[in-house]
Symmetry: C2
Subunit: 190 residues, 2 copies
């Protein structure tokens, strides 16, 4: 998505440690006109695939997943993050390791909101090592729901999570893929 690359180049900030700050249009502050365009782009990519539900993780995935759900005209569900593994039988749950905070957390979704037969598109703001998305895939497995594909606003291609999913035959469509970034600039994959 050309416009995503332009936004990243104009408004993003590369920080040491492979961190890309996009807080002024993608998380914390959200450019809502651009958000609607992201939703439409996701609907263009997956509109013909019979998606019945969009799934993301709180908090920063919610806005883009809501926009995708609106554009696809399907419900959006978000998994909640819990610090503890103290979750009851009314939910599907999976453990995700956060490299940012060097800790494990649980993601949970009520069994009411993921069903066998659901065709689910996973949406997130970032795709880096892919651990959060693999946690969501585990929830789908528990629910007997089907994975249609994965979409992220920004994929950090150099961290390999997206390519690892693609190698498994999963359709991954990121709105922009960064193959390299440092103080000299940002290189996108085309």
């Amino acid at each position: 998505m050309k416009r995503m690359e332009e936004k990243i180049l104009r408004d993003g900030k590369v920080l040491p440690g492979g961190i890309l700050k996009v807080g002024n249009f993608l998380n914390q502050q959200i450019d809502t006109r651009f958000l609607a365009q992201m939703g439409q782009e996701i609907a263009r990519l997956f509109g013909g695939d019979g998606v019945s539900k969009v799934l993301t993780i709180e908090a920063s995935g919610i806005a883009i997943a809501a926009a995708a759900g609106m554009a696809l005209d399907v419900p959006m569900v978000f998994a909640k993050k819990h610090k503890t593994s103290n979750v009851d039988g009314a939910v599907y749950s999976a453990t995700v390791h956060s490299f940012t905070h060097n800790t494990d957390y649980q993601i949970v979704v009520s069994r009411d909101y993921l069903c066998p037969g659901d065709r689910v598109l996973l949406v997130d703001d970032f795709l880096a090592n892919g651990h959060a998305l693999r946690g969501l895939m585990e929830l789908l497995r528990q629910a007997g729901a089907e994975l249609v594909g994965v979409t992220a606003a920004i994929e950090k291609g150099f961290q390999g999570g997206g390519d690892s999913l693609r190698a498994q035959g999963i359709r991954v469509e990121s709105l922009a893929i960064i193959d390299r970034m440092d103080e000299n600039g940002i290189v996108f994959r085309h």
Copy 2:
């Protein structure tokens, strides 16, 4: 908003302790077609008031605030919740007491995203005692931004937070106001 009352009556569940479960259309699972209608209703209510920014708190306020921002065609900002008061000078912050979890937490917004001169509409999914919204108002005060009004998808009128804000002269427009709810049913304010 008539449609909100219908959704609450059809899909909401009243639990003991004044809890209303609306997880199947408003939080956790979100009816995105209805979400867009909520955004349009908020734009109808506040579209003539020069709103420059919509502000909410993660996580459950994000979807409705994004829809409101899209309908009003203004940016949306969400405050982050921190467990600790260990926040630096690059943010505005306030302390909020959670009655649900009987604990205090910090809400923070980067100084980059709230400015003097901003005319801000506060949006949240629930308005109960109003403590979270008062925390957001404190962030506006620190930033020198102006409060245009407050809107919530569902106001628990019986908890008094909305009326307390109205008594201060603040414009509060909730999409549905519940004045009473128990095992016998739900009574809306009209």
